[in-house]
């Protein structure tokens, strides 16, 4: 090869690279925009379906003990466990995080929410009043946040009294996490209980290394330690509610303590974690499989109705000369361009019991006044309205394929002796299959994710899985479950999208 050839080849390559880069730079801003404001948020939401930090973050001490223990039939919650729960719940109740854990755990075991809420209200009764009084009588500074802050900073440096230190720090962090101004808070009463309990359990020289002020204060506390009433954690909690002796409460806490959970997905398919692995939910709690199946069944019905109504129309349009076809096409395109809400509203008005259709039927005597048809707020209403809304998405792809089928093929078949039916079934229909596939997949994809129309005309038994997702995200606030249902729905849609792409090619999608 001569140097000229080499340099030519290099120059061609370089110019190709520049062209590629230029094309990519044109696309880059939009791609970045879509990734950041659309794809990213959806992926982020999907992670909520397995995310489960709440229990572990709010009840860290309780969870640590529970994890180390084997909960069998003879297991009883011990005093150590209740002492840990006391610290966790005192902080949580002060920050008002306990209600969040309560709702989270209540998804898994009904009744836990009220147990946590009532205990959270009463937990200050355990020892704190007397303890605080004894502390403050010795030195007023025990009631100020500044003193505690100073003490904990010193304790942290000396690595002395870790329980008190971590409890104080968690309390501070959690308040900051909820957006509270920490400097304006009073120290929680439970700190006195926690501090004394830890002092009593630690070796005598633990305070020796502290700054003189703290050493003196803590020694003074130790000097009057006999005046503090001993705290019976177990008895106090059981006094609040004997449900705390219930093994199921503790297994539920333990089961839902890991940072990642498959619990929401199990719930989304009517299963739950039982004592021996995954088990079915009780009959009355099973809901989602039914709704998923209903969504599929109704989407299939809608797709088929669209096909049955759309095929003849597309066939008719394809047989017309272009000028007339364009004219009739307007009858398909106008509904396509009309607001979804307008069309839903129209059906609501038409199908009502006092609506136009019922009135007409009564007027011509097909039904009598007392037996007006219930066509709205049920599955019939959803199917009629959605068929109307999605029909153009069936007709347009069918029409664009049928336009390309030469009419001479059918004529040839007829001239060779085929009956009209045979000619249609064996010649025309097979050639229209691509349009049929495209239309049906498109209608089905759009149907299974529908939200607005089922919400407005679906009543109780005509709603789709999307309505459940919306309910969990905006009303019940069970976001994890909403995200799990959304993930399953999205997976189905992505598979269908992929099929559609293989069949039609997304660069061949046409609008009108």
């Amino acid at each position: 090869m001569t140097t000229d050839q080499v340099s030519l080849r290099r120059r061609v390559k370089r110019s190709l690279r520049i062209q590629k880069l230029r094309a990519f730079l044109l696309v880059a801003p939009l791609l970045l925009f879509v990734l950041l404001s659309f794809v990213g948020p959806i992926i982020d939401m999907l992670f909520r379906s397995v995310e489960n930090q709440l229990v572990g973050d709010t009840l860290p001490r309780t969870v640590a003990i529970l994890r180390a223990e084997e909960i069998d039939d003879n297991w009883q919650p011990g005093d150590r466990l209740f002492a840990a729960l006391y610290i966790d719940l005192s902080i949580a109740a002060d920050v008002k995080n306990h209600t969040r854990v309560a709702s989270r755990l209540n998804y898994e075991k009904a009744g836990i929410a009220s147990l946590f809420r009532s205990t959270g209200r009463k937990i200050r009764n355990i020892g704190s009043k007397e303890y605080e009084k004894l502390f403050v009588d010795l030195d007023k500074s025990w009631s100020t946040l500044d003193y505690w802050e100073d003490l904990v900073a010193d304790l942290e440096r000396q690595a002395a009294l870790p329980v008190t230190t971590t409890a104080f720090r968690q309390w501070q962090q959690d308040h900051i996490g909820r957006g509270n101004d920490v400097s304006k808070l009073d120290p929680n009463n439970a700190f006195h209980v926690i501090l004394l309990a830890e002092l009593l359990a630690s070796p005598a020289d633990v305070i020796a290394g502290l700054a003189p002020l703290h050493r003196e204060n803590l020694s003074a506390i130790m000097a009057i330690r006999d005046q503090f009433p001993p705290i019976e954690y177990r008895e106090s909690f059981l006094e609040f509610s004997n449900k705390w002796a219930d093994r199921d409460v503790w297994t539920t806490i333990k089961r839902y303590s890991p940072r990642l959970t498959e619990g929401y997905f199990l719930n989304a398919v009517d299963l739950k974690k039982g004592n021996d692995g995954v088990e079915a939910r009780p009959e009355q709690e099973r809901l989602y499989i039914k709704i998923f199946l209903r969504t599929f069944a109704m989407s299939i019905i809608i797709t088929l109705t669209c096909f049955i109504l759309g095929y003849p129309v597309a066939y008719f349009l394809a047989g017309l000369p272009t000028r007339y076809a364009n004219l009739f096409l307007i009858l398909v395109l106008l509904p396509f361009w009309t607001s979804l809400l307008v069309r839903t509203a129209a059906w609501k008005v038409l199908l009502q019991e006092q609506g136009v259709i019922n009135d007409t039927l009564v007027f011509i005597g097909l039904i009598d006044h007392a037996n007006r048809l219930a066509m709205i707020n049920n599955q019939t209403g959803t199917i009629i309205a959605m068929t109307h809304i999605l029909l153009p998405f069936m007709i347009l792809p069918l029409f664009s394929v049928m336009k390309t089928i030469p009419p001479s093929f059918v004529r040839a078949a007829r001239s060779l002796g085929a009956t009209p039916l045979t000619a249609f079934l064996r010649i025309y229909f097979p050639q229209s299959l691509p349009g049929m596939g495209a239309g049906m997949v498109l209608v089905f994809i759009l149907a299974i994710g529908y939200y607005i129309t089922p919400e407005l005309v679906g009543g109780n038994n005509g709603t789709f899985i999307s309505n459940r997702i919306a309910y969990h995200i905006s009303s019940s606030l069970n976001w994890g479950l909403g995200a799990a249902l959304a993930t399953i729905l999205l997976a189905v849609v992505v598979i269908l999208y992929w099929t559609y792409d293989r069949m039609v090619g997304i660069d061949n999608v046409k609008l009108g």
């Binding site: 982020d44 607005i452 995200a483």
Partner: protein
């Protein structure tokens, strides 16, 4: 209509008419709900059906009171204001970014063309409730939830697929030798773009813009999640009206919106014809 050939059997003739009747029924099914609300919106009463006065064409049966409600109620005023404040800006964002990207995508040397296309079309395919939920969580985290800007961004994303589809469709018929001719005559790439390419793809860009506009203008799920009470749009107001109690004012709104879609459809149709003519496809 041409007559039947001599060999046509009775069955052939029956089928010919039956088939047209079936198509006619489907066309009625498509148009009837849209057309019926127009006279109903001029109803003088508070009913959603034709009153005897209306059927006998008595002027007493008709009135403009629902339209007066629409233009006097502050709720609907705010909703209209918000809709017209959000949709054009969202359209502008999706059209400007979308047109650039469509030009890039239709160049032969675009790397990863197919997967990128799949991502850019996906906002049209992903169920709205999933997009809405995702954006709700994410926008809350970065402080865009409940803001005008957040809704505009969300709507702009939804409009992108339509711009991409219409503009790439126009570009697929674009004769590349025209840009080369322009370059050989001494025009730079920018001048070529504005003087040669842009006028030819303009019909596609505008119809993409109309699609993006109607998408934003008619969108309710995202607004419900990403918006706030202050950002109520027309569809939001209609949605809550339809969910709670049906007021006849909705029929007046619906009629206004139908007129808007007639205008938009006419524009798109004219643009499509113009584009075909420009590309020499004739019609």
């Amino acid at each position: 209509m041409k007559g039947f050939p001599a060999y046509a059997s009775t069955w052939d003739k029956t089928w010919h008419y039956l088939f047209r009747i079936i198509c006619c029924v489907v066309f009625i099914f498509l148009m009837f709900p849209i057309l019926v609300i127009i006279p109903l919106s001029f109803n003088a009463g508070n009913l959603f059906t034709f009153t005897p006065e209306m059927l006998s064409l008595d002027p007493e049966g008709y009135s403009l009171r629902h339209y007066r409600n629409l233009f006097e109620s502050p709720d609907w005023q705010v909703a209209m204001y918000n809709s017209f404040r959000i949709a054009p800006v969202a359209t502008l964002v999706s059209v400007s970014l979308g047109t650039l990207a469509a030009i890039g995508l239709s160049q032969g040397h675009m790397p990863f063309k197919h997967p990128i296309m799949a991502i850019l079309i996906s906002p049209m395919i992903v169920p709205l409730i999933i997009s809405a939920a995702g954006m709700f969580f994410f926008y809350s985290r970065i402080g865009l939830q409940g803001t005008y800007f957040g809704v505009v961004l969300a709507h702009a994303v939804l409009g992108v697929p339509f711009v991409i589809i219409t503009v790439t469709a126009t570009l697929s018929g674009f004769d590349k030798s025209l840009t080369r001719a322009s370059a050989s005559l001494g025009a730079g790439p920018v001048r070529t773009f504005f003087k040669v390419q842009m006028p030819l793809i303009l019909p596609g860009v505008i119809s993409g813009a109309l699609f993006a506009f109607i998408t934003s203008f008619d969108e309710v799920v995202i607004v419900l999640f990403v918006g706030s009470a202050k950002l109520k749009t027309l569809p939001w107001e209609m949605f809550s009206g339809l969910r709670e109690q049906l007021s006849p004012t909705i029929l007046a709104v619906a009629t206004v919106l139908v007129s808007l879609s007639v205008i938009l459809l006419t524009l798109v149709e004219l643009l499509r014809r113009r584009s075909q003519r420009l590309r020499g496809l004739s019609s």
